[in-house]
């Protein structure tokens, strides 16, 4: 395993300054469940890692007017047992219950889950210097593509593995980023970058910036939500496809709907076409199927992942059926 120096900052400001100064040679670490496996696999080779989990100010969960403020260093299991979750944030609770294993949830953090690197058998393999790692080729496009993206996959068909990200986006969550000079708040949906925007990184985080808080607004009365995850084994498995759905029916028609897919694209995929088609409509199964079909018309499956289209269709329809009634 590649050796590295270990550092513990005293404050967020110090952490940001350290990371800015060191540039790409330093990496922040939280639960380490992703970064350590990247180091062991020879994909990441940081000279130093900075342990953000030592910053107690980042491990909080607060409620403000019904909205949730979740510190980036909150562990997944701390969030999972937070009492108000079941009542108002069902999607988050469902996503957490499918996420990894109890052992990983006990050390993994909310910020770490959102900032984890993508999954791709080739990207994660030390022997393949793929385009994302600075090489010239994508090995997945004509290699083993069973786990890869079916949407937005022209440059790099990696998939974003986070269960929390689709759930948070379906709830219109925002993220607070702290940098050496300033803080900024933006919708989580805008936090992620497609390979076409930046092939080597998946987020808008600038050097020295860290994700310090997630803010989830309180859903309007009558809102329902669900998170469905389709995977090959019963636990400890990333989603082949997942669907987070939040919506509200008012006087018999769809008044609000957000539908976000995981496991099908390089970043969480917001199924806006489906949302727009259903707004103001009666919530009927044939409309759901048509809306899912419209989303998947854009799919460009590779040789090994055509099945994901059918799985995504099923999950979208089932999620909408569960939510819109």
């Amino acid at each position: 395993m590649h050796p590295f120096r270990y550092a513990e900052p005293e404050s967020v400001a110090e952490a940001c300054r350290f990371l800015k100064r060191q540039g790409t040679s330093a990496m922040p670490i939280a639960g380490g469940t992703d970064l350590l496996s990247e180091i062991k696999d020879g994909v990441a080779k940081p000279e130093s890692v900075l342990n953000l989990k030592r910053l107690p100010s980042l491990a909080h969960i607060r409620e403000q007017d019904g909205a949730l403020r979740i510190g980036g260093m909150t562990t997944l299991s701390q969030l999972q047992v937070y009492p108000v979750l079941r009542r108002n944030f069902r999607i988050i609770e469902e996503a957490l219950s499918t996420l990894a294993t109890p052992q990983i949830r006990a050390v993994g953090t909310v910020a770490g889950n959102l900032c984890q690197r993508p999954r791709c058998l080739y990207y994660r393999h030390p022997l393949f210097l793929c385009a994302k790692k600075g090489g010239t080729t994508c090995f997945a496009l004509d290699g083993d593509s069973r786990y890869h993206a079916i949407l937005q996959n022209d440059l790099c068909p990696m998939v974003h593995p986070s269960d929390l990200a689709p759930a948070f986006i379906a709830l219109e969550a925002q993220v607070l980023l702290a940098g050496p000079e300033e803080k900024r708040l933006l919708p989580l949906e805008e936090f992620f970058l497609l390979p076409g925007q930046n092939l080597s990184r998946e987020t808008v985080l600038k050097p020295g910036e860290i994700l310090v808080e997630v803010r989830v607004p309180k859903p309007k009365a009558g809102t329902r939500g669900t998170y469905l995850k389709f995977r090959e084994r019963g636990a400890g498995d990333f989603a082949l496809v997942s669907a987070a759905c939040s919506g509200r029916v008012l006087r018999g028609t769809v008044a609000e709907l957000r539908l976000v897919l995981g496991g099908v694209a390089p970043i969480p995929f917001r199924a806006r076409q489906a949302e727009e088609m259903l707004m103001g409509q009666r919530p009927k199964k044939e409309f759901f199927a048509a809306a899912a079909q419209a989303v998947l018309a854009a799919a460009t499956p590779l040789s090994g992942n055509r099945y994901k289209i059918e799985a995504a269709r099923t999950l979208m329809v089932r999620a909408m059926q569960a939510v819109l009634k």
């Binding site: 080739y122 090959e232 019963g234 498995d237 059918e310 329809v317």
Partner: protein
């Protein structure tokens, strides 16, 4: 030197490679004009092994209908928690090697002596405990490598695979392609079974010849037929090397056979249960003439007919297992349930060897303090062999098991013993321990009778104490009795040749699976599972149940989720880790009922037969057949992933 410094130094070595052609597909590698990975061509041994009883040609000539099909299985890794590891230390000309091993006496010690050019007496091999055997880890190279390095540097040397190396450079289950042809006569009888299997074995020979031999046994022997033939071809390729893994080739061969038989049953309009009940091999064995000369040991993987089994309770397995599954009441024709989640029932049979082994030694010693130590040269690979052998020793001595301890896994302190393989330990080592313990008991009785002037018929053995009735009533306590024997007399060391000259010794199983297939996602959930086994008398029911449950869970992954993915262009394994080589987790395990017929076998120690590997054999075909029963689509290619199911499901009715 620190480990990471050594690793960084390795990275600095510049290697210039001459790029040679590479094969990841055995069909390409075995073409006559293909580049030779080794001199002599890519078919190991130069030609396939061919085994035949009767004449399949004649059998097919008598057939009214023939059925053909092709079945394929994947690269599958044992994925033990403990990676392969060895530590070597020299003391002058004497070498000690600690190693994860299944055969310290018969594999590692001779290989080390040969490899290093020293007498075997100067080599000691110790395997204190195995961290996950699963039928793998029978290779010797790591012991030799560490011994050479230790000699070179004059210090002890340890070598241990990383997790990824374990997947890539350990030994995998051979991927296979099996073509089956079965002839059915006018009265529904099986006139011939012909199986041809091609296995890709990677670039190095390991236990491949035993693997492919075992692959054929189901086709040769599980169903009654006068004509059966197996052709097995082992092909060198450039995928990770394959070798031993629980049941060797049997799961591959019997997956093909049991899915094929399910198809034939349906074509003949028979319930799969009824077809199997009629045609599976019965206690009298296969038709034909015994070829093994009288008085010679009979193979436990025979080709010839005319030899009965020592015991064969397959019919009981089928009866008890189907009853527990509710088969008669609940079985419906394929694709009967309305969906989108459809349920189905499937079954498969299995047979396996376990009655032959190398010469098996055991030592039993009673000490003056009343304790007894059993010494065996085998390894407990996690299956509980030492507990079972201890029980057998205590039973033969008719003393409390609490007085007995067992020592094993060390060539210096134990007599020579076979490799822990072929499910043969209970049968072979059990018999050796039983006989050694019984011999000791006889000695003690003889000595006590001589001392007391009593006849043998007038004394009774009571948990080690000896009670004399005539001429006077008297009891000699266990420790008193032992004090009458010399140290040499208190120790019995003997060796036996396991096997039978009259019977085929096999174990049998019938497995039943109920699945629920989500036809909109392709996800298969195994919702109920019944495993019925004939392994003779069960010595330790808890350990035996554990062995069956472990086997079912292990092969659940083989059936549905596990595969070492190999990049089609470069041959590089892509998922050498526990995350993506998807070993099932505990929530994937269905409610599982284990049934033992529990009828004593006349040849086995206290009636016991083999159990180690059999539970792993019928799992994949039972699940594939259940999926067929649920949705009406056959899957002949393992593992049966949601992707494969969705690709096969007709588009109509979805979405």
């Amino acid at each position: 030197m620190r480990e990471e410094v050594a690793e960084a130094a390795l990275d600095l070595i510049q290697v210039e490679y001459e790029i040679l052609p590479a094969f990841f597909d055995p069909m390409q590698a075995m073409k006559p004009d293909a580049f030779s990975i080794h001199p002599g061509g890519n078919i190991a041994g130069g030609k396939p092994i061919v085994l035949e009883r009767g004449s399949v040609e004649e059998g097919f000539a008598q057939a009214e209908r023939t059925f053909e099909g092709t079945y394929t299985t994947q690269v599958h890794c044992a994925a033990g928690m403990e990676p392969r590891v060895a530590l070597a230390q020299w003391d002058g000309d004497f070498l000690t090697v600690w190693k994860s091993s299944r055969g310290i006496h018969m594999l590692d010690r001779p290989a080390l002596a040969r490899g290093l050019g020293i007498p075997a007496q100067q080599v000691r091999v110790i395997c204190p405990a195995m961290g996950g055997g699963f039928g793998s880890k029978d290779e010797t190279r790591m012991g030799t490598l560490t011994a050479l390095l230790a000699r070179k540097c004059g210090k002890p040397v340890r070598m241990e695979y990383t997790r990824q190396e374990e997947f890539v450079a350990g030994r995998t289950r051979h991927p296979s392609i099996t073509h089956l042809k079965v002839g059915i006569g006018r009265n529904g009888e099986i006139t011939a079974i012909h199986a041809r299997t091609i296995m890709s074995k990677g670039a190095y020979m390991s236990s491949g010849s035993a693997v492919i031999r075992r692959c054929g046994q189901g086709a040769l022997y599980l169903y009654q037929t006068p004509n059966a033939k197996f052709e097995g071809t082992l092909v060198y390729t450039n995928v990770p090397p394959a070798g031993s893994y629980r049941a060797l080739g049997a799961p591959q061969g019997q997956f093909a056979l049991e899915v094929h038989m399910d198809k034939i049953a349906e074509a003949l309009g028979l319930n799969p249960l009824e077809f199997r009940r009629r045609h599976h091999v019965k206690p009298e064995g296969q038709p034909g003439r015994r070829l093994t000369p009288p008085g010679e040991l009979v193979s436990d993987q025979p080709v010839e007919g005319g030899i009965p089994f020592s015991s064969n309770r397959l019919s009981e397995c089928v009866r008890l297992g189907s009853r527990a599954m509710g088969w008669q009441r609940r079985w419906r024709p394929p694709n009967s349930s309305p969906g989108p989640k459809k349920r189905g029932l499937g079954m498969a049979l299995g047979l396996y060897r376990g009655g032959l082994a190398q010469k098996a030694g055991a030592e039993v010693e009673a000490r003056l303090d009343g304790s007894v130590e059993i010494r065996v040269g085998t390894i407990d690979v996690g299956e509980g062999a030492f507990t079972t052998l201890l029980q057998i020793g205590a039973e033969a001595l008719e003393i409390e098991p609490a007085r007995v301890t067992i020592l094993g896994g060390d060539t210096a302190t134990t007599p020579e013993a076979p490799v822990t393989s072929g499910s043969s330990t209970t049968f072979s080592m059990g018999t050796a321990v039983q006989q050694a313990a019984a011999t000791l008991k006889e000695r003690i009785l003889d000595r006590v009778c001589a001392q007391l002037g009593a006849d043998r018929e007038n004394v009774k053995w009571n948990k080690g104490a000896i009670q004399m009735n005539r001429p006077t009533k008297k009891t000699v306590a266990w420790k008193q009795a032992l004090a009458l024997l010399s140290p040499e007399e208190r120790r019995v060391r003997l060796a036996i040749q396991p096997g039978s000259t009259e019977f085929v010794i096999n174990s049998f199983a019938a497995h039943f699976a109920e699945v629920e297939v989500d036809t909109e996602t392709g996800k298969v959930a195994v919702v109920k599972y019944v495993a019925a086994h004939d392994s003779g008398r069960i010595v330790n029911p808890a350990a035996a149940q554990n062995q069956v449950e472990g086997g079912v869970m292990q092969m659940l992954g083989y059936a549905l989720t596990e595969e070492l993915l190999v990049d089609p262009k470069t041959g590089i394994p892509l998922n050498g880790n526990f995350l993506e080589h998807k070993v099932p987790v505990i929530v994937d395990l269905p409610p599982l009922k284990t049934i033992f017929v529990n009828a004593p076998d006349p040849a086995g120690p206290f009636g016991a037969k083999a159990l180690g590997e059999p539970p792993s054999i019928p799992v994949a075909p039972a699940i594939s057949n259940a999926i067929y029963n649920a949705i009406g689509i056959r899957f002949q290619d393992l593992p049966i992933t949601p992707g494969k199911i969705l690709d096969q499901l007709p588009l109509k009715g979805r979405g």
